[in-house]
Subunit: 402 residues, 2 copies
C-alpha cells in the first residue's frame, strides 16, 4: 500500500500550533522602545519609521498586540482529557465497551446544495472536524494537525490509506445532527477511525464512515511502525465497534486513458489548500464528481464512496480525473439512456427498465462509477487516489410517488 | 441602482420550506396497501414491483418513512420569537437601544487556509449563516430563504445591493468567535444588516460588516416599496448602530477590457449553486480573488471588500472577471516591483519604498484592486457585481519583526 500525506480525518502533518496551558493572557509588545526587539539600534530607527508611517500609533500598537497574542492561548488546546466542550458542543461519550466523541452540529445554510440537503463535501468536512476535535478533547493533540505528543517526539505524522462513506439520507438545512466518532486498531500498526451521523430529533442514521490510518516519518516519508509510547497514548481509546458492518474490501480497478470521461489539466488553486499546504480532500472529491455527467448527477444521489489513497498532491501538481461507469450491472448509466417509455398511460424513463422490461430503478438499484485521480507525467502517470462512487436515483425523480 | 436576486445575507428568494409548529412527529407511508397513493390500481401494481425490486421491504419502508418526515419538522423553524437556541449557540441580545442576534462559533479546521487563519470565504459564509439564524430566531422566517410571512404574502424577496466587509484580524483555527448581527432602516424602503465579529476570549474585534437590502417582486423582478405589513414585522428590530463607522460611499469605477488582469470563460459548477439555484456569493468573491496575481496574495491579506451588486448570475451564465490595481496611490502593487533593495545592511522589498525612498509598507498602507464580474454577451456585457478589495501586507512578511 502506498502512503500519502493527506489531511482528511483525525491526524496529519504538523503545523506550528503550540501546546499551552488553558490560561488566557495577552502578550503585549512595547512599540516605542526597543525592549521587544533583538537589535536596539535598528529598532530605534524602525520605531521612528513606524511612527511616521502609521496614521496612528495606537492603531499600530493595537495591531501588534493582537498579532502577538500567542496562538496557543487563542486556540486553547487542552493538555488533559476534557469531558465536555461547550463551545464545540462536543463531549466524550460511552460507545459500547469504550469511549468516543460526540458533537452536535446544525446544518448551515451554506452547507447545502440547490436541493437544500447537505452536500457530500459538507459531510466530509464534518468528518474531519469531529475527528480533530476528538483528538483535541483527548488531551493528546500536539504541535500539529492531529499528531499526538508521542508522534511529535518520533517525528511521525498520520496518513490515511482508505476511506469509506455511506450516506443513507442527507440531512437538510437547519437539521440538528449528532456525529459520533471513535478509533480502533487496524492491524498491528494502523488505526481505524469510524463515524456515525444521526438525526438528533429522530435518531435516524444519516451516514456511516470508516477510515484507515498509518504512521509516516515526516522526513524520510517512509511508513513507520507504531512506537510503543504512541500505542500507550492512543490504544486506551480503541474500540472494536465498526460503523459500517458490511464494509467492502473489494479492490478498485485502476482506470487507464480509455476511460469514458476524462478531465485534464486540473490545477489546485490557493483556496484548495488546507493548513498543511496540501490539496484538500474535498477538492479530490469535487474533481471526481465533476467528471460524472451533469445529467446523471441531477437525478441521482451519492450513497457510497470508497477512496484509496496512493500519494499526496501538492499545490503545483497538474491533475487528471478519469471516470468510468460500472460495467458489471445490467444497466450502464448514461445520458443516452434517458428516453421515456409509455406504460399504462404513464411515461417512465427507460433507465428504469432492464433488458427484460422489469421495473428496476424503483428499487434504487445502485449505479457505480470507478474513478482515478492521477498526476500526468511525461513518461509515467502517478496515482493520487482511486475511488468508487455508488448512486441511488433521487426519490423525488420517481414520477408516481406523491 | 440595479437589482439582483442574490443570496448573501439575511433574506432572499423562496424555497419550499414549510412553516410548521415545533412538534416532532414522523409521517409514515403505508407501502403494501394503496392508502397513501392517489390511484389505487396503479399503486397495487407498483407496490408489487417495489416488493420485487427491493432487497428488503423493511429497507424500502424505512427509506420512505424518513423521506416523508416533513422538512418543517426536521428543520423545526420557530413561529414565535425565541430568545435562545442551544443547538446553534445563538441568542437574542441587547445591542444599544434595541436587540440583535449573537452566535458563538468555533473556527473549524476546514475553514482556515494554509496560514491557519479563517479564509475570507469562511467569514462571508458565517455572515450569511448568522443573518439567517437571526431571522429564524425572530419567528419571522417564512417559506423561503429569509423572507418574512408578510413578504411571502406580497410575493416579495430580499435582494442585496451593497456589502462591505472590513477585516482587522483573521481568527485562527479553533478560536471562539462571537458574531453579533442586527438590522436597521436604509432609506424608506430598504434595510441595513450589520455584523460585528469579536474574539470571545479577548473581546478584540476581528471584523465588521454592513449590507443594504431592498425588496423585489419575485414574478415581475421589479423593485418594490416596503409594504406596511412587512414594515410592521421588521421595524421593531431596527437599530441605529452602524458596525462600520467610517463607511465608504465612494462609487466603484466600472472596468473595461483594458483591465490589467482578465479571466474569461468562468462557468459556475453544480457545487457553486446555493439553495436558490444561484451562484453562491463566495464563488463571486473567489472569481475576483483568483484574478489577482498569486505573488501578491502570498504577501498580503484582505482588509476590506466592497461589493456592489448589479444583477443575478444563473447556472448557465459564462462569466468574465476583470481586475485592476488601484492607480491613485503612490504604489501600484505588482509582481514586477518585488525587487529587493539593501538599506543599512538589511534587505527590503522595493514595494516598501515609494518614489521618494520612504519606508512605506511598514505602515501597512493599503493596496487596492478594482474588480468587475460580468456576463460576456455578443453585443453587450452585463455587469454582475463591481468590487473593490483593499489589502495589507501580512505582518509575518515584515522581515525585521520577531
Amino acid at each position: 500500500m502506498a502512503s500519502i500525506s493527506y489531511q482528511l480525518a483525525a491526524f496529519c502533518t504538523r503545523c506550528s500550533i503550540h501546546r499551552e496551558t488553558n490560561k488566557q493572557k495577552l502578550h503585549c509588545v512595547k512599540i516605542n522602545g526597543n525592549k521587544s526587539f533583538s537589535a536596539g539600534a535598528k529598532v530605534d530607527f524602525l520605531s521612528q519609521e513606524h511612527k511616521m508611517a502609521y496614521t496612528s500609533i495606537d492603531q499600530y500598537s493595537a495591531d501588534q498586540n493582537v498579532h502577538m497574542i500567542k496562538q496557543e492561548v487563542r486556540q486553547n488546546i487542552p493538555t488533559t482529557k476534557q469531558l465536555v466542550d461547550p463551545n464545540r458542543q462536543g463531549m466524550i461519550v460511552d460507545i459500547e465497551e469504550g469511549v468516543g466523541y460526540r458533537q452536535t452540529v446544525v446544518i448551515r445554510s451554506y452547507e447545502v446544495g440547490p436541493d437544500k440537503t447537505a452536500t457530500i463535501e459538507s459531510i466530509l468536512n464534518l468528518l474531519q472536524e469531529t475527528a480533530l476535535n476528538h483528538v483535541w478533547m483527548s488531551g493528546l493533540l500536539s504541535d500539529g494537525f492531529g499528531a499526538t505528543h508521542g508522534m511529535m517526539k518520533n517525528n511521525l505524522i498520520w496518513v490515511v490509506s482508505r476511506m469509506q462513506v455511506q450516506v443513507d439520507h442527507y440531512p437538510i438545512w437547519g437539521e440538528v445532527v449528532e456525529i459520533d466518532t471513535w478509533v480502533g486498531a487496524s492491524g498491528k500498526n494502523g488505526m481505524r477511525r469510524d463515524w456515525l451521523l444521526r438525526s438528533q430529533a429522530t435518531g435516524v442514521v444519516f451516514a456511516r464512515a470508516t477510515s484507515t490510518w498509518v504512521m509516516m516519518n515526516q522526513q524520510t516519508r517512509r511508513l513507520s511502525k507504531m512506537p510503543e509510547e504512541v500505542r500507550a497514548e492512543i490504544s486506551p481509546w480503541f474500540i472494536e465497534k465498526h460503523a459500517i458492518e458490511e464494509e467492502s474490501h473489494e479492490k478498485i480497478d485502476k482506470l487507464d486513458n480509455n476511460a469514458s470521461y476524462v478531465h485534464s489539466d486540473l490545477k489546485p488553486k490557493r483556496s484548495d489548500l488546507d493548513m498543511n499546504h496540501h490539496v484538500n480532500n474535498v477538492k479530490y472529491l469535487r474533481w471526481m464528481l465533476e467528471t460524472i455527467p451533469d445529467e446523471f448527477l441531477e437525478n441521482h444521489q451519492l450513497s457510497n464512496i470508497i477512496l484509496e489513497y496512493r500519494r499526496e498532491c501538492g499545490s503545483s501538481d497538474v491533475v487528471q480525473s478519469l471516470c468510468e461507469p460500472q460495467q458489471d450491472g445490467l444497466i450502464k448509466p448514461g445520458i443516452q439512456q434517458s428516453h421515456h417509455i409509455s406504460l399504462n398511460g404513464n411515461s417512465f424513463s427507460s433507465e428504469i427498465f432492464d433488458e427484460n422490461g422489469l421495473l428496476r430503478s424503483l428499487n434504487q438499484m445502485p449505479f457505480s462509477y470507478t474513478h482515478l485521480l492521477q498526476i500526468k507525467g511525461e513518461t509515467k502517470n502517478e496515482e493520487i487516489v482511486r475511488g468508487k462512487t455508488t448512486w441511488k436515483r433521487k426519490l423525488t425523480s420517481i414520477p408516481f410517488l406523491p
